[in-house]
Symmetry: C2
Subunit: 214 residues, 2 copies
DNA sequence: GTCTATAAAAGGATAGAC
DNA sequence: GTCTATCCTTTTATAGAC
């Protein structure tokens, strides 16, 4: 570990050539870390794929763990930025929930998301901050956004969302289901798009039935 | 990888001293692999903790990956053997489901189960058979057992389990919920026993309400 | 900042004696 | 089968020249 602080984003006080190299290092490191995990990734391979010398990598990031943290943090922030989990319109809740379910499943079942999650799980004890950052910018964020929506429609159509956060957590847990476990374990060669859509439809129905008090 | 086949269980055609060493190797390897994962675990450390020489480890298991596979397969078989997921009595379904939920959560949230799952996820691409074996002896087994029970009570108390397997998968997915994600990510220092019990109670209620057609 | 060369250490696997 | 000693490769990190 190095005592200096290294920026994740290309700094403006670098020469264009240096910033370009820094960018190449980040891209290469992301590829290598995602492909091999933290332990099996080598600084040699990262430098090679970035087209720079190993010493340049160390000049920019100081140590392997600092580079790894920068990459993972970047990936987590990219996660947060993505598609809104709820299309917050005054539409039929069933439609809004189905859209939410579809985009959520597409996101979490994407190979890059699966790989990122596996990579973090493999090192979450050694890098607790990374695990926390992932949770906040991923699962937690999705739940919070959905909870806000559920609260906004509480009472409509005889729907009871008096505990919106718990309901949101349940919604995503149901969505993941057994399918997510199988994908995490790499038991599928390809994820069937129709199966996913049908699954989202079923879960939305079950979720609505569950929260419709009679 | 070695071309020979190595037994997982202590063979009877070994001298007692040899069988004891084999057992020590298995115990030490389990500890080291679970503590460090496949990549970071070293054959030196395993030999050292087992109190034998490294060559003895190689004599028994041939290669690092073969030893790893033997350890993981052993852990998976131990998983299967454990507590019945359903207490298949002619009791109130609510009680049976609550018992099932409680023992399931206790099992999957146990630190050893979490560690095993993380270890397998980290190598599931390189060892597809291990991932498959884990899935069959863990999540799949639990679902199948519960599905059998659900089918047996289909129609009772106005409960609809016409798709028992899907219902069983949903039940366990709901049970895992956000709590399981947080535990996987090592975000908890200790799992609150009362929180788990209350969670199981809530999920059973939601599950029953969901399958009670009106 | 960047590169080449190198230090220093760790790990998987094997040879040879008993 | 078991042990000691060793080979060979890979890896993190740094030194020194430009």
């Amino acid at each position: 570990m190095n005592q200096r602080t290294f920026n994740t984003k290309p700094a403006d006080d670098l020469t264009p050539a240096s910033a370009a190299k820094r960018d190449a290092i980040i891209k290469a490191a992301a590829r290598v870390f995602m492909a091999s995990g933290y332990g099996a990734a080598s600084m040699d391979q990262i430098a090679s794929e970035a087209g720079v010398s190993k010493q340049t990598v160390y000049s920019h990031f100081g140590a392997k763990d600092a580079l790894f943290e920068a990459i993972i943090h970047g990936k987590c922030q990219a996660l947060t930025g993505r598609d809104g989990v709820t299309s917050n319109r005054t539409e039929d809740p069933e439609i809004v929930l189905f859209d939410t379910a579809s985009s959520f499943l597409r996101m979490v079942l994407a190979p890059e998301s699966i790989t990122l999650y596996r990579t973090i799980l493999a090192v979450c004890v050694r890098f607790p901050e990374l695990a926390s950052a992932f949770y906040r910018s991923g699962p937690r964020k999705a739940c919070d956004r959905l909870a806000v929506y559920l609260e906004s429609i509480h009472g409509q159509s005889e729907l009871d969302f008096s505990n919106a956060t718990a309901s949101a957590e349940l919604f995503f847990a149901m969505l993941r289901g057994d399918l997510y476990t199988r994908c995490l374990l790499a038991l599928h060669d390809n994820t069937d798009e129709d199966e996913v859509t049908q699954h989202a439809r079923d879960i939305v129905q079950a979720f609505l039935r569950q929260h419709r008090h009679i």
